[in-house]
């Protein structure tokens, strides 16, 4: 870590996590492939009638996004916890919550942002129109960081446990419900030609609230898992 100080520490954390993710490129692709497969399953299970697809598309894309986010969550702290890096970070004089925020940012850049790029393509497959596609991207832009932030609390609570995976989804998924409702509602509204600014504003406020509070909770939870 070249430059000292808090900003240096945070950028170093961010750069390190991104570099680590880049070195494991194949693992990066897994949640994306999963996302695509889940979305593909729905037309196969229901039926490929365009009107039906248009109705279910917002919900399907968002549920798939939630599940894909769940899959990649554990990697946020797991390896650092296992090799003791996290303990060293917690011992450092820098506030753990800000380090958590940097790690969440890295996680989002690696797992949330690709979903954002992939989603319009899947939206086209599901016959969403252009306006709805734009709204879908906007909701994902506001919503996926919330998924990473709230997920961080869940991972921090379960990272010390041997089989935290299922437990993690049990803890985190109920907390994702508001995001799901507002985001899928916004896309449906856009499709019906209605106003969506209300939902987007609510998603934005949820994002602001989680940016402010989730790192604190996650840091407290990490300290417990480390003790």
């Amino acid at each position: 870590m070249g430059n000292s100080g808090l900003a240096g520490m945070l950028t170093a954390t961010l750069r390190r996590d991104l570099l680590l993710a880049y070195r494991h490129r194949t693992q990066l692709a897994n949640p994306l492939v999963f996302f695509t497969i889940v979305v593909t399953l729905f037309p196969l299970a229901l039926n490929p009638e365009p009107q039906l697809l248009g109705t279910i598309a917002p919900g399907v894309v968002w549920v798939a996004a939630l599940l894909a986010a769940m899959l990649s969550l554990e990697e946020m702290f797991r390896s650092d916890f296992d090799d003791g890096t996290l303990e060293q970070v917690a011992l450092s004089p820098y506030p753990l919550s800000l380090v958590v925020l940097a790690k969440v940012a890295a996680h989002w850049l690696v797992s949330g942002l690709p979903l954002l790029l992939l989603a319009p393509l899947l939206g086209v497959l599901l016959r969403l129109d252009t306006v709805a596609l734009g709204t879908l991207v906007a909701t994902l832009l506001l919503g996926t960081p919330v998924l990473s932030l709230i997920g961080a609390i869940g991972v921090a609570l379960t990272v010390g446990l041997r089989r935290g995976g299922v437990l993690l989804s049990l803890l985190v998924l109920p907390l994702y419900i508001p995001v799901l409702i507002f985001a899928a509602g916004a896309v449906s509204n856009a499709q019906a030609g209605l106003e969506v600014t209300g939902q987007l504003a609510l998603l934005g406020s949820i994002l602001a609230l989680s940016v402010a509070l989730a790192p604190l909770a996650a840091a407290a939870a990490l300290r417990i898992s480390l003790s």
Partner: protein, 247 residues
């Protein structure tokens, strides 16, 4: 005052006074439930629209009420336990979780029993029903986390954080669900319309609600006492207690 609180929170004194408190709460719960049930089942009139099935409400509403009250109490007790390291608070929080979860189940079950004759369906995706179901998920998550962590103190602090996060989220979830429902269902939702509930229905409802609350308090204290005993099993006063019973 601090010494008083300190003494109140020590496991040994808690074990002593909670026995008396629990006993009294049992008595209160029973004394209120007997007239409450009688009034709910026989004395209060059937509803002009819902007929006799309105009587389910006398169980359903107190259960739903307590399911929420229990969560708030659980979060409060867990936070107190975490911040001031009060073991008794933690025990109370852990005791609240399963009881609250069962009240949630009871509210959901009685609600669907009521929904079948009234709405013609066991389940309607109504905002209240859905939030109650999500509340059940939150309880189950809390219980699962508490069971997954071996060490008691770690488990207590971890679940306290989870309960707090849940507490912050409950209003958001509640309003988002309410909003989602109005968006999709509009005015088709039939709700208990009671612009002003008549005294003949209100009084059994209140009696039942108070009785449920006393019952809740009694069960929570009982469970908390068990946990305190288990947690303190190596301490002197528990040994004395056990040896006293043996001899």
């Amino acid at each position: 005052m601090w010494t008083w609180i300190h003494r109140l929170a020590s496991p040994k004194t808690f074990y002593g006074y909670s026995a008396r408190a629990a006993r009294w709460l049992w008595v209160v719960a029973l004394l209120l439930a007997l007239p409450g049930l009688y009034m709910a089942l026989f004395w209060s009139p059937p509803d002009y629209q819902q007929g006799e099935s309105v009587r389910i409400m006398y169980i359903h509403v107190p259960a739903a009420w307590l399911s929420m009250f229990a969560y708030v109490m659980m979060a409060g007790a867990a936070t107190t336990g975490m911040v001031w390291r009060i073991k008794v608070s933690t025990a109370v929080a852990n005791a609240c979780a399963p009881v609250g979860a069962w009240f949630t189940v009871l509210a959901l079950a009685t609600g669907s029993l009521w929904g079948k004759p009234m709405w013609g369906a066991w389940w309607v995706w109504d905002a209240r029903l859905t939030s109650e179901l999500i509340l059940l998920f939150l309880y189950l998550g809390y219980i699962a986390l508490a069971n997954a962590i071996e060490d008691r103190d770690t488990a207590a602090r971890a679940t306290a954080i989870l309960a707090l996060v849940g507490l912050v989220n409950i209003p958001i979830i509640h309003y988002s669900v309410e909003w989602w429902n109005t968006l999709h269902q509009g005015p088709t939702v039939t709700k208990l319309d009671k612009p002003s509930i008549h005294l003949s229905m209100l009084s059994p409802l209140l009696l039942m609600a108070l009785s449920f609350t006393a019952y809740f308090g009694a069960v929570v204290l009982r469970r908390a006492r068990c946990e305190v005993l288990e947690r303190e099993r190596r301490s002197g006063w528990v040994r004395e207690l056990v040896e006293g019973q043996d001899g």
